[in-house]
Symmetry: C2
């Protein structure tokens, strides 16, 4: 179930470039905190905080292996993010298709659109 709060937490977590880099790193496989910290110049506590944010956003889970805390990516939240963006984008493009048809119908009978924005189809000519 995609609660609004879930999406919210995921987007907020991914807004930080360090956190996105961590997520990208984890996509290549599980890693410990020290391993994740290594590419960055910030302190370990800072990394620790970032991981906590990612965990609360359900973007990662943390295991335990002796004194290490290996991190693993969770895919659900990532999928929700991508689906929200795709769904929103598609909604607009479909609407645009309809508007496009409408405008051509209008143009055929000499109408005008009054949009104030210069006509510029973001995808070039509409498919279909």
């Amino acid at each position: 179930m995609t609660t609004a709060a879930q999406l919210d937490a995921a987007f907020a977590a991914l807004a930080d470039p360090t956190r996105r880099a961590i997520v990208a790193r984890l996509a290549r496989g599980e890693a410990t905190v020290l391993e994740l910290a290594q590419p960055f110049e910030i302190s370990l506590p800072a990394i620790s905080k970032h991981l906590k944010v990612l965990e609360r956003a359900a973007l990662i889970t943390r295991g335990r292996e002796a004194q290490r805390r290996p991190c693993r990516l969770r895919t659900e939240a990532l999928r929700e993010v991508s689906e929200w963006a795709e769904h929103t984008r598609r909604a607009w493009e479909e609407r645009f298709d309809r508007l496009d048809e409408y405008l051509h119908a209008m143009q055929a009978q000499g109408g005008s659109d009054h949009s104030g924005i210069k006509e510029r189809n973001p995808r070039g000519r509409s498919k279909r």
Copy 2:
């Protein structure tokens, strides 16, 4: 071209729930500032600021129609966001498939994985 800065701006812009709501509203069609502000309890200057953030992140464009500034969604940035999330997710799932195969090979000859995280395939059994 997907510059890191572009993605960064887009994710940062979408981190705010008000801004995501505005984007979702715009997916249903062009709207003026007043129209966009209407569902929210915050002041007009606050909306204006949000729109500026969205514009700088290239998530919207703004036209001009007399004293109105109709906003229109741009799809490129949204696509980049969704592609980043999908790509990252897929990278992990593909890696997981390989690990999965490896683990089963190990299991077949009596090995152990030492991961510290309880085995739990996020997608159920791996496809292929």
